[in-house]
């Protein structure tokens, strides 16, 4: 007995090994912690992570074709798209069966809209065929090839069949190709015709303009934050209200106000003409272009830059500056070598906030951006709410998300994410 106690594991008061007992206590503690954050975790998971994951998945999802036209997809596997001829009767017979079932379930037009994104005209092929095929005897009413081509000659077009064949797998990279101005051609991915390329331009423009907006926010916000941080608290609070005031005004009102200010018959142009600085027939174009977007968005996003800068600057002790100066530094050296490095975390936090918000803006660019000042988010919004091409919208959104994450990673490597402070 005594031997086993001395050589065995250390026991707790209740006789269980101490190690296990400790592990249990720790586990209990972890469980309790988990229980405490469970509501929030669940909430975030259900309302944020899952919907985003679901939306991102749509960028590759393509089950609709093989689910709605199962027999056709199988029959079409042996058809050679490069033969230049429409497939044989077996494919049309399979299509008749699938189409009848789909038309009865009212699903045929959905496949039509899906494939219409890839080849214009397919949606009406399906709409017209569904109406007719519903009345057919698909068991022995054949042959079907002529009947389909009689409904619409498009059913005899090999290109239509190529599209169905290309988009029959359950997963597709078609949306991503489209989002990169490419398409599935006869031999793999190829560039779209030049008159349809737009997304690269928009992605690059979104990045450059968001950077420009972030920079102008830094330039305008830094002095304001500095003044706020160095004034007595009473005055600073009063001025802070002025910074926050735009926050409490509707976004649309602020944007419309910029229109009134900047348009050619607007306040600024009228004043300049009245002062004689600008000729009446050469009024400045300041809106419906990139300039308008940058001005309006800088104004809207400025508080997001000033607030983190302000709270970081408040923590910088004025004694450091005094110490630097007493050691012989000029005003500029004291600022640049002592004050500025300490305020960088505020700039970093503000820049990340402003940049990420700017990338996702679409109402303001839509209203004041004209043709050259719109962002990729405007196209995403268009595909979500108007063209209903959610797959393409999801692909564009995924690319945007990945780009932001890469930039975040680069920022972490260059500046260091520990170096970001909100106060």
């Amino acid at each position: 007995m005594s031997d086993s106690t001395s050589s065995g594991p250390v026991l707790a008061a209740d006789g269980t090994p101490l190690k296990r007992s400790l592990a249990r206590a720790l586990r209990m503690q972890k469980m309790r912690a988990l229980m405490l954050i469970a509501p929030l975790l669940l909430f975030v998971l259900l309302t944020f992570i899952l919907p985003i994951a679901d939306m991102l998945f749509r960028s590759v999802e393509n089950q609709i074709v093989s689910e709605t036209l199962p027999k056709t997809v199988v029959a079409l596997q042996d058809w050679d798209a490069d033969s230049g001829e429409a497939p044989g009767e077996d494919v049309y017979a399979a299509l008749a069966v699938d189409m009848k079932a789909a038309a009865e379930a009212k699903l045929h037009t959905r496949v039509g809209s899906r494939l219409n994104y890839e080849k214009p005209g397919i949606s009406s092929l399906f709409r017209k065929a569904g109406r007719k095929v519903k009345k057919w005897d698909v068991e022995n009413g054949g042959p079907f090839k002529e009947q389909f081509i009689k409904i619409h000659k498009g059913w005899g077009d090999p290109d239509v069949w190529r599209t169905i064949q290309t988009y029959s797998p359950r997963l597709t990279n078609g949306y991503f190709l489209n989002a990169a101005d490419m398409q599935k051609g006869a031999d793999g991915a190829e560039w779209r015709p030049e008159n349809e390329q737009i997304y690269w331009t928009l992605f690059i423009r979104t990045m450059i303009m968001s950077l420009a907006i972030t920079c102008s926010c830094i330039i305008l916000g830094y002095p304001v934050a500095w003044i706020l941080a160095n004034l007595p608290a009473r005055t600073a609070n009063l001025l802070m209200i002025l910074v926050l005031l735009p926050f409490w005004t509707s976004l649309l009102v602020r944007t419309s106000a910029w229109k009134v200010m900047l348009q050619q018959q607007g306040v600024i142009n009228e004043t300049l003409v009245w002062l004689g600085l600008v000729a009446d027939d050469a009024r400045l174009v300041m809106i419906n272009n990139q300039f308008g977007t940058i001005v309006a968005m800088t104004h809207i996003l400025l508080p997001f830059m000033i607030l983190p800068m302000y709270s970081v600057m408040q923590t910088i002790k004025p004694t450091y500056l005094r110490a630097a100066k007493s050691l012989g530094a000029t005003n500029w050296t004291a600022f640049w070598r002592v004050y500025f490095p300490q305020s960088v975390p505020g700039i970093g936090a503000g820049s990340i906030l402003v940049f990420i918000l700017a990338i996702g803006y679409y109402i303001t660019p839509e209203l004041v951006g004209g043709t050259k000042g719109v962002f990729i988010s405007n196209r995403i919004a268009f595909h979500i709410s108007s063209s209903l091409n959610w797959g393409l919208a999801a692909a564009l959104g995924t690319i945007l998300l990945v780009v932001v994450l890469i930039l975040y990673w680069a920022y972490d490597k260059i500046v260091g994410i520990d170096n970001v402070k909100l106060g």
């Binding site: 009212k106 699903l107 037009t109 959905r110 039509g112 809209s113 219409n116 994104y117 214009p120 005209g121 397919i122 949606s123 009406s124 709409r127 008159n195 349809e196 390329q197 737009i198 331009t201 928009l202 348009q263 050619q264 018959q265 607007g266 419906n288 839509e366 209203l367 004209g370 043709t371 050259k372 719109v374 196209r379 268009f382 979500i384 709410s385 108007s386 063209s387 209903l388 091409n389 959610w390």
Partner: protein
């Protein structure tokens, strides 16, 4: 019991004993519309009379028509459709019908016949562009111009004539209508427009024509923009919905004139979301039948200058409810205004909209 039988039974019961019938129908009805003056006209022309007849019913408005297609799809996927009747433009109704998000209707059974007995499908005629759609009004996208800044234009091609009509113009930021006007003014016959537009050369030709005025165009996305731009003198002419121009001219007295040449007719109407429970659907169909009858559609024209979609409503159009002016001359369908109209091909645009939009946006971004 399928729905048609239920509806037929309900209709007969309604004639005999309205009180007993009301129990089978939901008493709440969520209508989706555009807000603003248009929704107000619906409220006055059909909702208020309907509530007077059915005091127990409660109507809730949701001003979401602008994003109805996307929201309805999301609701449908979530399996929780909270809307009962949705106001949508014709092209959206086709999209909803194609996506299976709207119920197909039997127009002759579901809608009231004209007072002279003409069936609903004959009374609406060609305007029933989709099986899911009940049109209420005909509106048009047409041009307004500043009467004090430029000479009176008499053709839509004035928008492409920068010499005779200098100044900026506002156009809607989408290919629809603009491409047709461009081809028309480039010499394509009206009947051939869609045939030409269906070819890559036709698209290039249309965009090349628009290219000649690209630097002088302000592109709009909201219908209120053109009247505002005209009022500010920012543009000298611009396209928008005719009702918006009517209120700028007649209600606000702005120096704006209407150019009806080649106005582009479009339709706005109701769709019934798919998958409603029987009691809600019964209420919707009851309301729909009432709200789209001949008199109701004619009444709507008292409040807004859009033409009623029923042929039988046209003779009943009266005076503006507040201004007291005769409304008929302000209707896009009035013979004096409809001398040269552009008829929008819904089927063609349903097929080619995405493709042309990509090309149009790429052209804009250049």
């Amino acid at each position: 019991m399928n729905f048609k039988k239920l509806a037929a039974l309900a209709a007969t019961t309604a004639l005999c004993a309205p009180a007993a019938f009301a129990a089978d129908m939901a008493n709440e009805l969520t209508l989706v519309s555009w807000g603003g003056a248009y929704q107000a006209s619906q409220q006055k022309a059909y909702v208020e009379p309907y509530l007077a007849m059915n005091p127990g019913v409660k109507i809730i408005w949701d001003e979401s028509s602008a994003e109805a297609v996307a929201k309805l799809r999301a609701m449908n996927e979530a399996g929780n459709v909270t809307w009962d009747l949705v106001d949508a433009v014709a092209s959206d109704s086709m999209r909803l019908c194609d996506e299976g998000l709207a119920d197909e209707l039997d127009h002759d059974n579901d809608l009231a016949a004209a007072p002279d007995g003409t069936s609903a499908s004959d009374d609406f005629g060609d305007l029933l562009v989709s099986d899911c759609f009940v049109p209420q009004i005909v509106y048009s996208t047409t041009f307004g111009y500043r009467t004090d800044l430029i000479d009176k234009p008499d053709s839509v091609c004035a928008i492409f004539d920068l010499e005779k009509y200098p100044g900026k113009r506002s156009l809607q930021k989408r290919p629809i209508d603009n491409m047709e006007w461009a081809l028309y003014c480039d010499g394509v016959a009206k009947d051939d427009i869609y045939e030409v537009l269906g070819t890559p050369e036709g698209v290039d030709r249309g965009l090349a024509k628009l290219d000649t005025i690209k630097d002088s165009v302000v592109w709009w996305t909201a219908g209120a923009e053109t009247p505002q731009l005209l009022a500010d003198g920012e543009v000298v002419m611009g396209s928008t919905f005719n009702g918006r121009l009517f209120s700028a001219i007649a209600e606000q007295g702005q120096p704006i004139g209407m150019l009806w040449d080649m106005q582009s007719f479009d339709l706005d109407g109701w769709i019934v979301p798919a998958g409603l429970p029987a009691d809600r659907k019964a209420r919707v169909m009851d309301f729909l039948k009432f709200a789209t009858d001949t008199q109701r559609l004619a009444d709507q024209a008292k409040y807004i200058s859009y033409g009623p979609a029923r042929a039988s409503s046209a003779p009943l159009v009266g005076k503006h409810a507040e201004l007291g002016i005769d409304m008929a001359p302000h209707m896009p369908t009035d013979p004096a205004n409809a001398g040269n109209v552009h008829v929008y091909d819904y089927e063609w645009w349903a097929d080619n909209r995405d493709d042309l939009d990509a090309k149009f946006q790429a052209w804009l971004a250049k």
